[in-house]
Amino acid sequence: MNKVLVIDDEKPTLVMFRLTLNAYGYTVFTAENGKEGLEVFERERPPLVLTDVKMPGMDGIEVLKRIKEIDPRTEVVVITGHGDMDLAIKALNLDATDFINKPIQRHLLEQALRRAEERWQLALDDKDEITLEAIRDSAVMHLQGNLATQSEPRLQEAYEQVVAMGKQRIVLHFNKNASINGAGIALLTQLLLDAQKQGIDVVIAGLSENFRKVFDIVGISRLVELRESLEEALEDV
């Protein structure tokens, strides 16, 4: 995974992306608008696409849709304006795997790139996205990779297993690379509501900063406790 396509209407931004991503060891393709971006994507089929949302002509959302139509597995990271979470969520609903705010912080960019790469690797290795584990009196559900529509059966199965464990507490442990799209959020919400009905405590741990914000906005934070790490979540009892 060393090909990356960056689509942004800002030429200086493209220049900086090219230099930075080159320094990270990527082969960088750039496009100044959505149409050109799609052409480059068709030609090069990069596994990772970074696209600005706000662009004249075809905007980032449209580009995202088209790319997902062409290749649903592509990791598309949308670049949103400063703190524009509405657009971020809109993009997540359209199966964007991650988002990053402008101005782009170096460490956030690095994290986003790493997560994308890990997810890509998981997909390539066809590893199980959800694994279960019982630690002390808690049932821990490890989540990684892309949590999307296709994850529903597995998630449902895992949840039933967790309930079967008879633990009064479920810890949803998100790997740093975990990405949850709009469908994933809906599944998760359903699961949390079920748990609430059954009187099971749910704690979410290890969520990346981006998705913590998303959970705040969609209201999941109000249903569960959020913890920084698995250890914290387990200590908490």
Binding site: A23, M55, K102
Partner: protein
């Protein structure tokens, strides 16, 4: 003649009458006397002759018979017959030898009489006046003839005393009659002259009073009207019943505009109807009408004068009376003293131009050009200076008048500083609102350079930390790009600051393309994100105009924001590709600088074209739009002496055409 000019008309009439009557009377008296007296005397003489003839006829027989006693008795009978005795003083008869044969004298016959009055041959009588003792008598001699022979002579003496007494009786009767007439004429002409001149002198007294200004003088002439007063006229003080007699008193009405049909008078006009009476009464009546009219004019004038005086003295605005050629202040009201801060003495005689800048001069100059056609000139937003050189804004109204016989201008200056400040606040508020609307776009716009800078500096930091082998050109590229992006961010901030700044009071000379580019730089990118493209077709080298940069930015921002909304509305409500184009064109048209802003949006229905510039009118129902954008735009354009027009077709687009006068 001059001597007579000083005599009063009354005496003139009186004396003229008198003199004429006297002359006529005297002439008649003399003529009548002469005719009467001479006729009387002749008549009496003829009677004497008749008596003498009678005696001669009857006595001729007695003379031939020498029957003198009969003759004597005859002449006595004739002489003493009834009243004749007073007339006939004597009768005597002489024979052919002129011897007295018979006479009526009661004393011896006066011999000198015998041959005193001889009838010359050929005549049949002779009259002569003789003195008979103390009494005078007319001796009438008539010959007594028998055939062709004169046989004697009859002398009849008529008593002159009797005749004279008759004449004097006649004369005194005649004189008495004449005198009576003169007395009557005297009284009559005295009354006549008094009758004619009395009203005249009364009118004169009244006219004197009027000219002294006493219009409340009581006219006792109006008895000629039978007690009628003008207040009883139905048109008096009524607007709904116009009578041209009364309406014409109203100076605001132009009588020439009325056709004859529109003039209304009562069938029987009480006011101008002729009253009964002779010319003097009619004169008095007319005079009364005249006084009433003058009184009514005067009271109207007085009212009007009072009204304007109170306007002048207590009006809320400073008012100046300014001389036409030198612009010297001739008069100023107390408010002017108050507002301008000069004592009145100092203000009078000052040049009006000292109060204001060259704007005032321009105003006055154009006043000279326009006043003839328009009557009054309005000059908005002129800067004036109070005492101590403190500036403030006024609007000037000027109209021509005549002041003490000289052409002058009345200038009313309204202090509009507060209004201008309020305007500025309103514009500022609206601008702040615009800034708010723009904020998302500006944040995006500002985020772009920040992003590039951030990434660039992060790249350099990474290179330093990881000790990467970065080619020299790349470092240079990054650093110069960072510099460019900093400039770009600074430019955005500068534009924002200039847009947000409150405008100065005085307008600058300005290239109209500058605010257009300013707005473009603020919103161009943002609009493009909404697929609304702004196309600039700006003509370079067009004249400057007098305006404020940021206020015009406000104008163009409002216009392009509306255009953008119109384009978005079109793509939302109608099928078709999203987006559109806004074109801004600038060019010169004669002495005007014109900017056209047109879009491909939804357009404005024809019926709303007049309304869109009204404040609080908005088509954007859902938004919290106050509907002030175009109203403020209109106000700003008007402020610079410009004009704004809209042309629009529903569904096709809208074109706003702004034109400004080019600055010299």
């Amino acid at each position: 003649m001059k001597r007579f000019a000083d005599i009063s008309l009354k005496n003139k009439i009186f004396f003229a009458n008198l003199v004429v009557i006297l002359i006529i009377s005297a002439a008649i008296a003399f003529l009548a006397r002469w005719i009467l007296v001479s006729t009387l005397i002749t008549e009496l003489e003829l009677r004497g002759i008749a008596i003498a003839r009678t005696i001669a006829e009857r006595g001729s027989g007695y003379i031939l018979d020498k029957n003198y006693p009969e003759l004597l008795s005859l002449i006595f009978d004739e002489a003493k017959l009834k009243e004749r005795q007073h007339l006939v003083s004597y009768i005597f008869i002489t024979d052919q030898d002129d011897k007295v044969i018979s006479h009526t004298f009661t004393r011896p016959f006066p011999e000198e009489f015998r041959e005193a009055n001889l009838v010359p041959p050929g005549q049949d009588s002779s009259v002569r006046l003789y003195m008979l003792g103390e009494h005078a008598a007319y001796d009438i001699a008539t010959p007594i003839t028998q055939g062709i022979y004169r046989i004697g002579m009859v002398h009849v003496g008529l008593s002159k005393d009797h005749i004279d007494s008759l004449v004097s009786k006649l004369r005194s009767a005649f004189l008495g009659y004449i005198s009576g007439i003169i007395v009557i004429i005297f009284v009559l002409s005295h009354w006549l002259s008094k009758y004619i001149t009395m009203p005249i002198s009364k009118l004169m007294r009244v006219a004197d009073e009027l000219s002294r200004g006493n219009f409340d003088v009581q006219l006792d002439l109006h008895q000629v009207r039978g007690g009628w007063e003008p207040h009883e006229c139905p048109a008096f003080a009524r607007d709904d019943l116009p009578c041209w007699h009364f309406d014409r008193i109203d100076p605001s009405m132009n009588p020439s505009e009325n056709t004859e049909d529109e003039l209304r008078t009562c069938r029987k006009c009480e006011f101008y109807g002729k009253q009964k009476g002779d010319e003097v009464a009619q004169l008095a009546d007319s005079f009364y009408n005249m006084i009433w009219s003058i009184r009514s004019y005067r009271s109207r004038l007085h009212e009007s004068e009072e009204k304007y005086r109170s306007l002048f003295y207590s009006g809320p605005d400073p008012i100046f009376v300014v001389e036409c050629s030198s612009f010297e202040i001739l008069d100023a009201n107390p408010r002017a003293v108050e507002v301008y801060g000069y004592p009145k003495g100092e203000l009078l005689g000052k040049s009006f131009l000292e109060l204001g800048s060259e704007n005032t001069a321009a105003c006055l100059v154009s006043f000279d050009e326009q006043a003839g056609t328009q009557g009054s000139v309005f000059y908005p937003k002129v800067m004036h200076y109070r005492n101590g050189n403190k500036p403030f804004f006024v609007s000037l109204h000027a109209c021509p008048i005549s002041y003490r016989g000289r052409p002058a201008i009345i200038i009313s200056s309204t202090d509009i500083t507060e209004m201008i400040e309020k305007d500025a606040q309103l514009i500022q508020t609206s601008k702040m609102k615009s800034l708010g609307e723009m904020s998302a776009g500006i944040a995006h716009e500002l985020n772009q350079p920040l992003n590039a800078i951030k990434m660039g500096s992060d790249f350099l930091a990474m290179a330093a930390e990881k000790d990467l082998d970065v080619p020299h050109e790349q470092i240079h590229e990054v650093v110069s790009e960072i510099s460019i992006q900093v400039d770009r961010a600074a430019e955005i901030i500068n534009t924002l600051r200039s847009f947000g700044r409150k405008a100065e009071l005085v307008a600058d000379r300005l290239d109209i393309n500058r605010p257009i580019r300013g707005v473009f730089s603020m919103v161009g990118k943002q609009f493009e994100l909404e697929n609304v493209r702004i196309r600039l077709e700006l003509s370079e080298n067009i004249p400057h105009i007098l305006a404020h940069d940021n206020r015009l930015q406000q104008v163009f921002f409002n216009l392009v924001a509306n255009a953008r909304d119109a384009i978005n509305e079109k793509s939302e409500t109608r099928e078709g590709a999203p987006g559109g184009t806004i074109t801004i064109r600038s060019y010169q048209d004669g002495s005007q600088v014109v900017v056209e802003v047109y879009d491909t949006g939804i357009g404005i229905p024809e019926s709303l074209h007049d309304k869109i510039f009204e404040p609080f009118f908005s088509t954007k129902e859902t938004s919290h739009d106050m509907g002030l954008g175009l109203a403020i735009t209109y106000g700003i354009v008007q402020d610079y002496g410009g004009d704004i027009h809209v042309e629009s077709r529903e569904g096709e687009g809208t074109k706003f055409k702004l034109s400004f006068p080019a600055a010299d």
